[in-house]
Subunit: 127 residues, 2 copies
DNA sequence: CGGCATCCAGGGCGATACTG
DNA sequence: CAGTATCGCCCTGGATGCCG
């Protein structure tokens, strides 16, 4: 009756979204989505708080998925630019509604969390 | 020039999506999206491979975010039902394009990964 | 039945140092 | 500049056992 919800079908989707939805990937994608190719160092600065290692790993995964294109200019010093691939742009499009929703609901969700934690805390102190 | 892409603005979005996009949340949401309230045990069976602990944790987080409504019937044995809240339905809607995109691109992405790994492997053996 | 507490292994991630 | 390599911490998540 719900052939679209078989666990087997959802698993690959879950896998993909897990990687896309990890701590850094979204931030990297958003910066890349601004259009122009961007260098490693710029990216590093643009995303505050990310370690060099994690930026490398994140970019490598995105490249592996064909979402990001890495271009090396063999100059000295070396120059490496990253840009969204066509597929990456498509992903960005597909994520827009989710971004909108998140932006619109962030405050309400935050309030729910506060309320939930308070209720939980009350339950403890009341004990 | 790109006021929407300030790191500070993206951070909460990233946080939310990290939790939504974790290993289990999406699968749980998809099952709940089928409509009728569902009991803990049914949910556990519907999602193969999830441990009881992680199902509990996942549901608790969703409840905390106001995305899922938890209803307890104080019978013996106890009966607890979970259902998507209105907000949860909204999230589900917002995620549809992303689901579609993932479904359409899963195969291509997989191929990209294979190709990438092969190229990498070649580079090593060729060394 | 539903779910919390505890314990433990593995992996994610950061910090640091080193290379082409 | 753009990485790779190594180490070590911590947190995630699985297994198990106990409670209402």
């Amino acid at each position: 009756m719900h052939p679209d919800h078989l666990p087997e079908d959802c698993r690959p989707i879950s896998n993909l979204l897990s990687r896309i939805g990890d701590k850094w990937t979204i931030l990297v994608l958003r910066v890349l989505a601004e259009g122009e190719p961007i260098r490693f160092k710029e990216l590093h600065r643009a995303i505050g708080g990310i370690s060099q290692r994690m930026l490398t790993v994140t970019l490598r995964n995105l490249e592996r998925d064909g979402l990001v294109i890495r271009t090396v200019y063999p100059t000295i010093p070396p120059r490496v630019e990253y840009a969204l691939s066509e597929r990456g742009v498509g992903l960005q499009q597909a994520m827009l509604p989710l971004f909108m929703w998140t932006k619109e609901n962030a405050k309400d969700i935050y309030r729910s969390q506060i309320a939930f934690d308070l209720a939980k805390q009350d339950a403890v102190t009341r004990r």
